[in-house]
């Protein structure tokens, strides 16, 4: 629903000033939503960090965590303006560059009852987690400085334009994407896929079993992601209203349905309900309902959640056998569920609930619109990611050395271990005079 807010915002901008017409209830909700979405990035760090082996825990977590810094600053200084300033069909303007433009006549801007500046943070948390998501395809083999460079360039030149097209009044504005199925999840998954292919698989891939080192961390990540996702989806209503309530309930129902189906598939296949599976199901269900959250009714949400389990379940099962080292299954989770969700949003969208008619209510044209947006996103994200990686590859190697990969990236790249042992650690005091 971002697009609704922001396509009308330019009209409001000049008029709405601080003090006047703040809607305290909606502001309270957007403050909370922003905090919730911010929390999703540390949550993802745990979801991902738990899934990797002991030697790469910190590297994996840091690839997410560091986005809170680099992507956050890049977004605030430039990305937000490119995405959301009133611009053309292809890119926003430069009115908010360097955080300018949020004061008018000595007062803070207010739009739609909210302090306008808050949107920099709210949208910033989306940009951050989108970048962080990509890292799941790349565990255990990327140089950290190459990742830093990629994350900054990618958010400016891939994420911001796509956000503009769908939500900022750009040429995809007819597509329904309530909270980011296309802009966030498909985008991140395609980028992850392309990057995994460009980098190639880990040296030991296919020979050694890569096991999670800490499944409770995976559950912690999933739990916190679900919690934060309420801000992601229901916050995308931009008001504490019935639409937010609906988006919230759908965000509650869909992952529940996915978890039920996933667990039954697990039990049917080998009689064992896996915890990693349940955690994955939560994420898959959340991804699938993201584009639909405020557009479909609650039974639609249950259907979307339940249906989303199938493609992801079977793709993730098969993926290691396809020779594709999408290490933590970003394609299987975010790519497939994001695509399915985007399409089913067109199918289940409901006039009564969300204000737009979908396929089941006779408007199958909406499904075509959804397909088009997905296709554009896949194409642009793949192209943009590929070009950026090739450019960065001219400046520096993208991959770590084989020896670093063998030692583990925590020690090799970060000079740390996740769980250091004091045994045999010899204290180094460069100036021997100091310490007693």
């Amino acid at each position: 629903m971002k697009k609704l807010v922001w396509s009308t915002m330019p009209l409001v901008l000049g008029l709405a000033l601080a003090g006047g017409n703040i809607d305290a209830g909606s502001t309270a909700w957007m403050l909370v939503s922003t905090a919730l979405v911010l929390l999703m990035t540390p949550a993802l760090a745990f979801f991902y960090g738990g899934l990797v082996g002991q030697k790469n825990v910190l590297n994996t977590m840091m690839m997410s965590f560091i986005a809170l810094g680099f992507v956050g600053v890049a977004w605030a200084l430039l990305g937000y303006s490119l995405a959301y300033d009133n611009g053309g069909a292809f890119l926003g303007g430069l009115g908010y560059v360097g955080l300018a433009g949020f004061l008018r006549e000595g007062q803070m801007l207010v739009s739609d009852g909210l302090p306008s500046i808050l949107d920099v943070a709210f949208q910033g948390t989306f940009a951050i987690i989108t970048v962080a998501l990509i890292s799941g395809s790349l565990a255990g083999r990327m140089r950290f400085s190459a990742w830093l460079l990629l994350s900054v360039l990618w958010v400016l030149f891939v994420y911001a334009p796509l956000a503009h097209w769908v939500w900022g009044g750009g040429f995809l504005k007819g597509a329904l994407d309530f909270a980011g199925g296309t802009v966030v999840h498909i985008n991140a998954a395609v980028a992850g896929l392309v990057a995994a292919l460009v980098l190639g698989p880990r040296k030991a891939f296919g020979r050694v079993a890569f096991l999670p080192h800490n499944v409770p961390f995976v559950l912690l990540g999933a739990g916190l992601l679900w919690f934060g996702w309420f801000g992601f989806n229901a916050g995308s209503a931009y008001q504490a209203d019935a639409s937010a309530g609906l988006a919230f309930v759908n965000t509650f129902l869909a992952p529940a349905a996915t978890m039920v189906v996933w667990t039954l598939l697990d039990l049917g296949r080998e009689g064992k309900a896996t915890a990693v599976g349940a955690a994955t199901a939560v994420v898959v269900g959340l991804v699938a309902i993201t584009p639909a959250a405020g557009f479909v009714g609650p039974t639609g949400a249950l259907w979307i959640g339940a249906l989303a389990a199938f493609p992801s379940y079977f793709f993730i099962l098969a993926r290691p056998r396809l020779g594709l080292d999408d290490s933590l299954d970003v394609v299987g989770s975010h790519g497939l569920a994001g695509t399915l969700g985007a399409i089913l949003t067109g199918v289940f969208a409901s006039q009564d609930w969300g204000g737009v008619t979908g396929g089941l209510e006779g408007n199958w044209a909406q499904v075509a619109v959804q397909f088009k947006a997905v296709a554009v996103a896949v194409f642009y994200s793949a192209l943009g990611t590929f070009v950026l990686l090739k450019l960065i590859g001219l400046l520096m190697p993208l991959r770590t050395a084989d020896r670093e990969e063998a030692i583990g990236l925590d020690a090799a790249l970060h000079g740390e271990e996740a769980y250091p042992s004091m045994e045999g650690a010899i204290l180094v005091l460069d100036s021997e005079g100091g310490a007693a």
């Binding site: 079993a209 890569f210 080998e270 599976g277 993730i316 290691p320």
Partner: protein
């Protein structure tokens, strides 16, 4: 003197310790290990990754004893660690040339379990 090395099931450790205690064997060192024997493999699945886990958790005891204590020690382990199912573990006896107690510098018999009361 001998170094008796026993690999037992972790769930049997407390019983073994008790049996050794009753046999008046005091000093010992234990280590968590993983063992492979004739037992069956366990299958685990993490997303698409299926693995056979051929190794089972075991506990290893190392017990340095003077010669008269060899048989009581082995007897205590055998009686307390057995379940009768595959995986009960093994006992290894290795010759031991010298033992030194770090605290005192005492050597050999004086450093391991005392000879049995009224014994050899």
């Amino acid at each position: 003197m001998k170094l008796i090395i026993a690999v037992v099931r972790p769930e049997k450790l407390n019983e073994v310790l008790e049996a050794l205690f009753k046999a008046e064997v005091r000093g010992l060192t234990i280590t968590r290990v993983r063992g492979h024997g004739g037992g069956t493999e366990r299958v685990e699945t993490y997303r698409g990754t299926t693995v056979k886990m051929g190794l089972y958790d075991k506990v290893k005891l190392e017990i340095a004893v003077s010669d008269p204590f060899v048989e009581p020690t082995i007897g205590a382990i055998l009686s307390s660690a057995r379940t009768g199912e595959v995986g009960d573990g093994k006992i290894f006896v290795v010759p031991l040339e010298r033992v030194i107690r770090i605290r005192t510098g005492e050597e050999n018999e004086a450093a391991v379990t005392p000879v049995p009361p009224g014994g050899a």
